[in-house]
Amino acid sequence: MIYGAWICLLSPLAAAGLITLAGERISRRGAGYLATLSCFVAFGGAVASFVGLLERAGSQRTVVSTAWTWISGGSYRSGFEVIIDPLSVFMMLIVAGVGALIVGYSIGYMDGDNEERRYFAYMALFVFSMLLLVQGGNLLILLAGWGMVGLSSYLLIGFWHERPSAIAAAKKAFIMNAIGDATMALALFLLIKKAGSVEFFVLGGRYSSTVATLVALGLLGGAVAKSAQLPLQTWLPDAMEGPTPVSALIHAATMVTAGVYLIVRTHSIFESAPHVADLAAGLGAATLLLAGLIALVQVDIKRVIAYSTMSQIGYMFLGVGVGAYANGMFHLMTHAFFKALLFMAAGIVIHALADEQDIRKMGGLRQLMPRTYLAFLIGSLALVGIFPFGGFFSKDSILAAAIDRGAYGYVLWVAGLAGTFLTGLYTFRLLFLVFWGEPSPFVREHFHALKRDVVGVSLAVPVAILAVLSVVGGWIQWAPLWHPIETWLQTVAEPTVSPKSWQEAVSSALALLLGLGGIFLAWLVYGVRRVAVPRFAFTQRVLEHKFYFDELYDALFYQPTVWAAKSLYRWVENPLVDESSNSLGQDTRDLGRLVARAQTGLLRTYALAIASSVAVLAVVFVAVR
């Protein structure tokens, strides 16, 4: 079991190292196979850990394996250790499993790219970083994984480094994440000062409410940045500049789900700081509405899905914020399935249309690629939460948990229900625009179907597997009838809310109705086009500018920084540093010029100088004696 966990952690790292070191001795496709194999080995390790935990009794399902003492100083000590408990194994299975499918899909998607080896090394590194994050046995290792996930995402978003927009997006993601890393590090410092340790159990200790609030706020800052929630959400849509499998990996298996995992992992500190937990739930609710609204006007196929991720992570934050940890994790799992499915189906569409991502140029793809359409339809239904697809089970139980939270919970509940309607609307707007209607001239000109070669198979097989998982994945837990995930995670994170059956029923019914309503509206407007697309110029402009968050941050942070840097240059650096060094050089040169005048180059001057000096010396000698 312990070996399984270590194999799971280290095999993607080994693959990344091997691909990097082998250089051109390994074929491009070989690098892809190696990375995929390593992720499947990691999945095998995760399964081994899972089986190992299953054999133990519930209370003994937490194992910490320490490789070596990493840092020790004074009474402080932290080891390089992995934790194997129900929560980390749950995440390991998702990360390694979905990650392996996505890396396998990349073999086809990245075929013919110039730098495939670098790509697969980065992908394996990304999976390793995320596994380090979820397996880290203390907060310090978790933070190390946290930072490495940020680094890998930076490398992969900017993978097509010849595009300036990709570089800008990579930097944006990295900086936004660095803000979160910094607040997390501050929380850890405070924790070390107060408790002297960064083990997970110290979070459950007794702290004054100020300390608990500050630590929880710091951790929440990290979670919000990594999971692209308000107010640090702006990097996620720009991250679509990376290759499509990278988007799938970021959105489904790794990275954005890390924030949810963090809150569940550190839930005891959030329980000592209930206001911060409420804040997390509120941020989640606000983000899910905001992202749902913005998704309505996006025209890039990947951006629509990106905003839907933001919105779904908002649901997870809402869930874990009100204390429904198992429900949040359950939604994380189903979301991993259907979001990877949607991204990969979208990737097939993009691939078939010669890298075009603008949905206004698409249309009528249902007749040309019926199986992709089916996969996309399953993913969309699961995303909206239509019975019997994945999202139905997980999203609705989050909403039910919200009602159980009292008056504030009702506000969250209403926001979540409104979000369901928006989800139906924007998801099926995308589906109808891309797949319904007659093939557009652009599609007729550029469409080429997948072939039955390595490329086609490696693209199609993961999508098929995920389509099946999106259908059956939700059936694992149907609260309140059966709830194995809640039981499984109980020893790590006991939920603080327990929704009653009527709350589940009401939430499910309303969410289903609202989701269907959204789909119906999308069908009227975009499917059969009975109703013209409504025009609200002002609202549309606001949504297209993503509520002006980018502009706001630009004005609040970027412009003042640039101004400060420019004025510092002009008033401090230029006069003090530049000028002083310049004048030092100038003075030295002047002095040299003065001395150089003594060097006439005439022999007689030198001889005269020597002779007269000797004469002077002789006089001095005589006089001194």
């Binding site: 150089a596 006439t600 180059g601 005439l602 002779a611």
Partner: protein, 101 residues
């Protein structure tokens, strides 16, 4: 008994002065070298005079050493002058001033 040591020194000083004047005012490097030899011989004469005066042989040995150095110096100097001449550089020390700073 011949003339006293002072006479020898006077002649040596005169030779040295003539040589120094030649080094300072002549422009032909050949003549400058000649003047240098005169200066050296003046110094040699002074060394030998003192050796006789103090009844100590060290000065004479020293004069021999100076002659050897002077001979090799002349070899180098004349070689340089010949080389300059072959390059058609004007033989004028005032115009050989490329070391000017």
């Amino acid at each position: 008994m011949g003339p006293g040591t002072a006479w020898y020194l006077a002649v040596a000083g005169f030779l040295f002065g003539v040589g120094a004047l030649g080094v300072l005012i002549r422009r032909n490097p050949l003549i400058v070298l000649l003047s240098l030899e005169i200066m050296l011989n003046g110094a040699n004469l002074a060394l030998i005079a003192f050796a006789r005066h103090l009844n100590n042989g060290a000065g004479q040995i020293f004069a021999l050493a100076v002659m050897a150095v002077a001979a090799s110096e002349v070899v180098v100097g004349l070689g340089l002058i010949v080389a300059l001449n072959r390059k058609r550089v004007p033989l004028d020390v005032d115009r050989l001033s490329s070391l000017r700073g």
